[in-house]
């Protein structure tokens, strides 16, 4: 709404990473006079902060002169935006038609058993977030699994276990 509420937002977020907030504040300053920049700001803010908690949404809303409900309306509309902390690595199982019929569904269960989390959740140690995708465009490699930006082809249960182990041991960096 105005300058003072931005401060209120800052003060209201105990335990938030102040450095990240300041960095995001600079981005807001860049965009605040351009109409329709909310998505860009959210995108970059998530890049810095990792996810978009309500306190951060509120900070962005105040900075851009938007209402919090409008900002959260956009955040909750796009699956890309996350409102909970994400794991160090994101494991995406492709559930497009080709991957599905060639065992993608089975891989989903393997992850469930292995990591003890449901789709969309993050492991307690903050290591892995588990998501499913609707076709990543790698049907020739089915069933395909993506970890962060790396695609693994024709994955079966044993391979999946090995892949996870590799990331857990830190043999592959994020």
């Amino acid at each position: 709404m105005d300058g003072k509420t931005v401060t209120a937002a800052k003060n209201g977020c105990e335990g938030c990473n102040q450095e990240a907030f300041d960095e995001i504040g600079n981005i807001i300053d860049l965009y605040k006079d351009k109409e329709g920049s909310l998505i860009q700001v959210l995108h970059r803010a998530q890049g810095i902060y990792g996810y978009l908690p309500l306190e951060l949404q509120s900070y962005i809303a105040d900075g851009l002169g938007l209402s919090l409900s409008e900002v959260s309306g956009v955040v909750t509309f796009y699956p890309f935006f996350k409102t909970k902390p994400q794991g160090k690595h994101t494991i995406s199982i492709c559930m497009g038609t080709a991957c599905y019929v060639r065992g993608g569904k089975k891989l989903v269960e393997t992850i469930r058993d292995l990591l003890g989390i449901e789709v969309g959740e993050t492991t307690e140690d903050g290591m892995f977030t588990f998501v499913v995708e609707r076709c990543i465009g790698a049907c020739g490699l089915a069933p395909a699994v993506m970890v962060d930006d790396t695609v693994y082809r024709q994955v079966d249960e044993e391979m999946l276990k090995a892949i996870i182990e590799k990331y857990r041991k830190g043999e592959v960096s994020a």
Partner: protein, 603 residues
């Protein structure tokens, strides 16, 4: 201008008109649901589809602009069938609990089904709506929501409060505060404008009728009071024209319902003028004679406005008059002055306020609104809820003979009547303050301060005081500048001006709802496009019909000070009639979590 043909009729309309608007000019009614005046069209419901020659698909008439030579058909088999299917799809996600819904009979969705001749519901949608969000003032029930977004327009475009917006997507979409929070936790000011525009029962006042029936049945002394704006609106609940003056019937209906004492909030409005006028003169005197005082002073009658400033401008609360709102003053007086008079303990009394307002339901629960541990007011009914109770009691409202409010807390001057309309509190204050200062009557025709009468968003007036009585010599030659606004969007303009240090005013009146209390969130939902004007006229006529039209002329007010209160702004008055406020910040960030006391049970 464009000429178009609708159902064979020629319509000539401006180029930027929509098909829907063009059809109206030739008397053709196209059914609508999400469409709403004075806000940008969203076109969510699609019910207003029509056939346009040359177009491949049906067109939404509320969004499609006319083109010269356009040929439109609004009533073909294809159109009728499409509308019915669209309606069925709307219903597929609706809980369809019509028989037990408070909107049954006044529901626009229900009426539309009848208009469209829908006789079946073939589609079963997803029915996993989140549980009802019941705040002290407003209930949000997503099972009944059809996502038309009228409330979103009211909350964002009209009121600029931005509390309600669509959250999530697809089947999971709900209209809610950020991240599906609760209204009570958000910066909702409980103005209730969303409840007025909601076509279904999805947004409504949180019911108090049950609680009030229990009070009436309990045998405890139950006192009722009614706000000024009720008397020109409650008639609409019984099929009368907006603005019908039914003060006498209203008093009679309240007696018939079984209230022990039927008082008038108007009396307390007169009292407010004395208290607020005195406070204003005190502040001006201090400011002009080198003392410390915060100006402009801003009115405090509207609890929606109060909550708005607490959220958005928490550093500016010192501008707000310390006066409680009139019905809270009345409650405080009933449980002190009147309780003593009739020898009943305050804790054994119940005070019910009939208000045009949903925010008043929040206000009575504020911890500031108690004296000696007893709440000033125990329940608030909206105009609509009172209508329901009168019907439930089997009272034939239209046939009631006129009755009067009871004294000593029932008589009021014309100044009190206009408290219910934007500009009215200021005019009432000026009538008294000017006369107090100069000894002369306020120099306006029929006492109406014309620059601040009407529905402009921000109105202002300046009155130069030439001669004063000796006690007010400090005001000699001073031009008093006042501003009036209604609706929180207008309030934002005046407050931003204040923040920038550019506010030229001494006194500002703010009412939280656009048009003032006559258009409050608890008023009957009207389809009459002139409803505002008609209710305004009703109140001004009520005012002009009275012999006494200035608050300080009310003999019962004079007596109240002599017998009980002492001096205006004196010790007793401060204890009972004044209050303080809570800085909340956005989403209650600054507020004490325990700021709202627990609901007091009627027991």
């Amino acid at each position: 201008m464009a000429e178009i043909t609708i159902n064979g009729l020629k319509a000539t309309v401006p180029d930027d008109a929509t098909i829907l608007e063009a059809a109206k000019t030739v008397g053709i009614h196209i059914p609508t649901l999400c469409n709403m005046a004075d806000v940008s069209s969203f076109g969510s419901c699609r019910i207003c589809v029509v056939e346009v020659e040359g177009a491949k698909t049906l067109q939404v008439s509320c969004l499609t602009k006319v083109r010269d030579g356009m040929v439109v058909k609004t009533n073909t088999g294809k159109v009728r069938k499409a509308r019915r299917v669209l309606y069925e799809l709307l219903l597929s996600d609706h809980d369809q609990e019509c028989l037990t819904c408070s909107r049954s009979g006044s529901c626009e969705l229900q009426a539309l089904g009848e208009t469209l001749g829908v006789s079946e519901t073939r589609f079963k949608g997803e029915h996993d709506s989140p549980p009802e969000d019941v705040s002290v003032a407003i209930t949000r029930d997503m099972g009944k929501c059809i996502l038309c977004r009228r409330c979103v327009a009211a909350c964002n475009e009209i009121q600029n409060t931005g509390v309600l917006n669509a959250q999530n997507r697809g089947f999971d979409t709900v209209i809610a505060p950020a991240m599906e929070g609760k209204l009570g936790d958000a910066s909702c000011v409980f103005c209730g404008q969303c409840t007025v525009v909601c076509p279904t029962g999805a947004l409504r006042e949180t019911d108090a009728t049950k609680k009030v029936w229990e009070m009436l049945d309990s045998g405890k002394r139950t006192v009722v009071q009614v706000a000024p704006a009720i008397r020109v609106a409650i008639g609409e609940e019984f099929g009368m024209e907006p603005g019908s003056q039914v003060t006498g019937k209203l008093a009679a209906a309240l007696k018939a319902l079984g209230f022990d004492d039927v008082f008038d909030t108007n009396f307390a409005a007169d009292l407010t003028i004395i208290e607020e006028g005195t406070e204003f003169l005190g502040r001006v005197k201090a400011a002009l004679t080198g003392g410390e005082a915060t100006l402009p002073m801003v009115t405090s009658c509207s609890p929606g406005w109060i909550k708005f400033i607490e959220h958005h401008y928490p550093d500016r609360l010192k501008h707000i008059s310390t006066c409680k709102s009139p019905h809270m003053m009345m409650g405080a007086l009933v449980k002190s002055f009147y309780a003593e008079k009739i020898g009943v303990k305050p804790e054994d009394m119940r005070v019910v306020s009939v208000m045009p307002c949903t925010a008043k339901k929040f206000e009575i629960n504020r911890h500031e609104m108690m004296n000696n541990g007893v709440p000033n007011v125990d329940a608030v009914l909206t105009t609509r809820e009172l209508g329901r109770m009168i019907r439930e009691a089997g009272i034939d409202f239209c046939a009631l003979p006129d009755a009067e409010f009871e004294n000593p807390l029932g008589m009021s001057t014309g100044a009190a009547d206009i408290f219910g309309v934007t500009g009215g509190v200021m005019e009432a204050a000026l009538r008294t303050v000017f006369e107090l200062v100069t000894g002369k009557e306020l120099p306006f025709d029929k006492l109406h301060v014309t620059p601040i009468v009407g529905f402009e968003q921000v109105k202002e007036a300046a009155i130069t005081i030439e001669d004063t009585l000796p006690a007010y010599a400090f005001l000699k030659g001073v031009t008093v500048k006042v501003a009036v606004t209604s609706g929180t969007a207008g309030a934002t303009m005046l407050m931003d001006q204040l923040e920038k240090g550019e506010s030229p005013y001494h006194f500002i009146e703010v009412m939280g709802c656009p048009g003032g209390c006559i258009m409050g969130g608890g008023q009957p939902r009207s389809k009459d496009p002139d409803v505002k004007q008609k209710r305004l006229k009703g109140l001004y006529t009520e005012d002009e019909g009275k012999v006494l039209r200035k608050s300080h002329e009310n003999p019962y007010i004079t007596k109240l000070y002599e017998e009980y209160l002492g001096e205006p702004n004196g010790h007793k008055a401060h204890e009972l009639l004044h209050t303080h406020y809570t800085p909340r910040g956005m989403e209650n960030r600054l507020a004490d979590k325990e700021m709202v006391r627990k609901e007091v049970s009627p027991a």
